[in-house]
């Protein structure tokens, strides 16, 4: 069965510092991977998506992620965090004939001044 693991429930970063949020997937075959962000009292918004090809994908607002088949990982990065990035970030994998999205439990990013 597929799964997505986000090992860090919460990450705290100083404004202006770099960021990495971790995601590990477990899946047989070619994974289609996604990062979503959820701001308080809002729905999920797509940050970026990986389809088989270039392992580094660019997203909105300066986010990028790198797919690693050898490490079964799809970590999210940002070079310089802004206070407005304070939110919950979800990694997800899509698979199967029904193309179902399976989400991790999320990582809360908090930003300190």
């Amino acid at each position: 069965a597929q799964s997505v693991t986000q090992p860090d429930a919460r990450v705290t970063v100083s404004e202006g510092a770099s960021l990495q949020l971790r995601c590990k997937y477990s899946y047989f075959g070619t994974p289609y991977l996604f990062w979503y962000v959820q701001y308080p009292r809002q729905g999920l918004q797509l940050l970026l998506k990986y389809y088989p090809g270039d392992p580094v994908v660019q997203g909105v607002n300066g986010f990028e992620a790198e797919f690693s088949k050898s490490n079964s990982s799809f970590h999210l990065r940002k070079a310089s965090v802004h206070w407005s990035d304070w939110a919950v970030y979800f990694c997800a994998v899509k698979r199967g004939s029904n193309y179902k999205l399976t989400f991790g439990k999320g990582t809360l990013l908090t930003v300190t001044p």
């Binding site: 997505v4 289609y32 009292r41 809002q42 729905g43 389809y51 029904n98 179902k100 999205l101």
Partner: protein, 115 residues
């Protein structure tokens, strides 16, 4: 372009009461999804439709939950006899087609509290 809209935004019930959630997807999107998101968890798919047909409802607790999309546009998710364990945010999403490349757009959700 209007996004996915949901109503109500909040609902508070006593155990045993019924509640319905309504979703209006993005115009032209043929695929509609309902997710349950417990507090501090990721969304979990309950059911999804292509047009008016149910494609997958394997995670829908069929004894108390039901979902319809009669004209292939708006959808209603209903909980009969709610339990405290149903406390969660219910998210609706829509996409054009449902394949690997289809992006799902999410509504703001309905936050349900069952006392």
């Amino acid at each position: 372009e209007a996004g996915v809209t949901q109503s109500p935004r909040y609902a508070v019930l006593q155990e045993g009461q019924a509640v319905s959630f309504w979703c209006d997807p993005i115009s032209g999107h043929d695929t509609l999804y309902w997710y349950q998101q417990p507090r501090d968890q990721g969304p979990q798919l309950l059911v999804y439709f292509r047009d008016e047909a149910v494609i997958d409802n394997s995670q829908l607790p069929s004894d108390r939950f039901s979902a319809v999309r009669p004209k292939g546009t708006n959808s209603t998710l209903k909980i009969q006899s709610a339990k405290q364990g149903d406390t969660a945010t219910y998210l609706c999403a829509s996409s054009f087609c449902g394949g690997y490349y289809a992006e799902q757009f999410f509504g703001p959700g309905t936050r349900l509290t069952v006392l």
